[in-house]
Amino acid sequence: MRWSVERSELFVAVGDEADLPVLVVRVQAWLTERGVSPGERARITTAASELATNIVKYAGRGSMRVTAVRRGLHEGVELWAEDRGPGIADVTLALADRYSSSGSLGLGLPGVRRLMDDFDLRTSPETGTSVKVCRWLA
């Protein structure tokens, strides 16, 4: 076992509101180090922030993993938000587009789905919620 093996993954524990700005900064830095363009950085980090906000709001604690992924010639960035919270009772509703005057209603999931390319949501009261999203870079 060697320590020098490069792991192209960023892990951030999300425990409360104060972790959110830290998460944003770390994700930004991670993407910058990998040469991701400013536009894609803003998009991916915003999605990460949105998912992490959901964790704090609905589950209390959880984690975010950011991974460099590859499919054939395509490179992408995957975000994986996980929590062991109560799960989402009505997935259809959570994925339905709703606009509110405050912009704060709902889970922000439809927005995350638009910002990213691939979207995979798993949720149950027993296991909590896992949202895996991927953005393919040009």
């Binding site: 803003a42 922030s49 704060s104």
Partner: protein, 125 residues
């Protein structure tokens, strides 16, 4: 966060230009810091009897829907106090992400620069 940290750390910059207040947002404000920024701003509007507020958002790199809702509420509060508001300097990437997220941007005025923002709140179109 302790009171001491909150009072010694500058969360934002609120300054005055005649009858206008210019407030500069820092990028990494958490909810508590944003709340103190908001109080400082509203107090400045009251004490200066400001007619306009220019919110400089040019330092913001990432704005999610929760951040945007806080921004929006702050603008609404200022308007309720009787001052006009304008958001200036939002980065193109931030704007693009916000619109794709589906943030409610209705009724928010934006300008590219601080100067244009000041002109807008002084001479609304």
């Amino acid at each position: 966060m302790s009171r001491l940290a909150a009072s010694t750390e500058r969360t934002a910059l609120v300054s005055h230009f005649g009858d206008c207040v210019v407030a500069t947002l820092r990028d990494d404000l958490d909810r508590g810091q944003f709340a103190s920024f908001r109080s400082e701003l509203l107090e400045a509007v009251r004490s200066q009897r400001a007619h306009g507020v220019v919110l400089d958002a040019s330092a913001l790199e990432v704005v999610d829907t929760a951040d945007f809702a806080r921004l929006r509420q702050t603008l609404e509060m200022v308007e309720l106090m009787g001052a006009r508001t304008v958001l200036v300097g939002l980065k193109p990437d931030v704007v693009a992400a916000l619109v794709e997220l589906g943030a409610d941007i209705d009724g928010i005025s934006g300008e590219l620069t601080l100067e244009a923002g000041l002109a807008r709140v002084r001479n609304p179109r």
